[in-house]
Symmetry: C2
Subunit: 342 residues, 2 copies
Amino acid sequence: MAAVTNGRVLFNSVPTELPEPGKTTVYDTTQTIDLENAPLNGGFLVKTLDLSIDPYMRGRMRGADVKSYVPPFQIGQPLVSHGVGVVLRSENSNVKAGDHVYGMLAHANYTIQKDLSMLQVFENPNNLSWSTFLGVLGMPGKTAFMAWKEYSSAKKGETVFVSTGAGPVGSLVIQLAKIDGLKVIGSAGSDDKVQFMKDIGADVAFNYKTTNIKEVLQKEGPIDIYWDNVGGETLDAALENANLGARFIECGMISGYNSGGAITKSLFHVVSKSISMFGFIVSRLEPKWSKDFFATIPALVAAGEIKHREDVYKGLDKVGDGLLAVQKGTNKAKLIIHVADN
Amino acid sequence: MAAVTNGRVLFNSVPTELPEPGKTTVYDTTQTIDLENAPLNGGFLVKTLDLSIDPYMRGRMRGADVKSYVPPFQIGQPLVSHGVGVVLRSENSNVKAGDHVYGMLAHANYTIQKDLSMLQVFENPNNLSWSTFLGVLGMPGKTAFMAWKEYSSAKKGETVFVSTGAGPVGSLVIQLAKIDGLKVIGSAGSDDKVQFMKDIGADVAFNYKTTNIKEVLQKEGPIDIYWDNVGGETLDAALENANLGARFIECGMISGYNSGGAITKSLFHVVSKSISMFGFIVSRLEPKWSKDFFATIPALVAAGEIKHREDVYKGLDKVGDGLLAVQKGTNKAKLIIHVADN
């Protein structure tokens, strides 16, 4: 068989504000690969099926000299994100052709993997779509579940405010909070997302682009728990309307990712209201909570008792658009790049 | 006996920036009291000995309409703070003449107390000066000890950064951290305070007015624990130089008390470095830690193994100056208003 094109999405330049398709990243079709004969050198060949686009990826689009705990993308090299693939050929005894793998995948149609250090073979007993493992059963779902269990100290009758409540993380937080008997206030950036938050059980759901956040929280609060995905003014509003002893779960601060950092003006309430604030990195919670997660969430998802949505972009050439949409919040739900069918 | 003057310090106007002696507060000598015959109505008469001036008092100098968990001072009424007094007469069976009381006292030479709801009778077995019970053995000492025990998760060999390390809270934190085997970095605003921090064991001590905080922390960090009394730029420097999994103990944010609030620009590190931030109100920690505190700290203070300093202003007419000094940081140590000898 002749070589086929191996499309790739390369990191091309460091953005100063929003990532620009074609400039920050470029779709490249110059590489080819011979799927039957490419040497594996003891490794295995993976065909990419689905890739995840997540807000945190903006933090990796930085110069090689800027330190952080997640390494930067490298100029001229493919992006990397969570993904699902199928193994086409293998010389590794732990992986065989036909296996499905989950983990960090380069943005390319095909990759040759040395070993299983970045990927794991996984089963799909409930026969869910592969992309499910990038959303509610993947990193976003684990983020919501594990940090909620670890930090919320949720008590029945309390009130939680969830920002980006229609996203893959926030929508699971809303459903976990309702299972725990809390009053849930959710915010998102479109009327469609507001409707989805209501559909999954939010008691109060509003569009932050057309509604004053502080007024909603003054009326519906004070809040005992804040799930923060945005930082900045929304965090200030939450601080101002927090209850004594509130817990703030700091999952992300997207309002500052494309503007050099979110400014917080009301942090003094952390002192005056005895607030605990928990930043976290989900991989540090996995050893403790992984078993619980897989024991409860997949079955609830398969039974339709936990709802989730996806916004699927088809083709690697759409990665740039997807990255921009996630930073602007114009994606409708968990953004998936569907690269190939099984 | 004829009536004597009962000097009082009244809250006179809400400050917009720093509190001004004679404007924010006024010293008033128009009231008299007959110490032998003033009716007690079942209560008791207290002569004020020492009063504490603390940074948090700035938060009580606000309009009656601004909500917070500490009530505002009332215009035309005396200030209230932690104090020590001696009972002159009593009609309450739980208190007798000669008893010493500690708790919230109005800023007046004499007060008639209804009951013991704001005060407690206390012993002084080590024969320490009464003002000690307003500093290292009072609210500041409890603040340092109880929050350190509750939140620091200190491990030998870690590094802690203590802001306002020469103050009554910070200086005890430094000594507790050294007892726990940590490397201690302390900051304060004068060379005299820097010397005091070295004297009590700080490994690195610097004057933040003449030294770049970020450069010190870059060189001596990263930090595992930050004891925050100041907020603002110092907090940003600590966030930028924190280790993965750092604990931030949020005791105060004086940098914003007189300017409408401290601005934080680097809060995203809470997410990226998995930082936990703990605001607290010491009264909420007392039930859990009071016994431990009194079992360990008074004896160490009496033995000279824990060091502390006081800056004593003599007379109620100096309260206004004391309030301003504490907000500007020009006090040399724990600020005490010495009102009368025993």
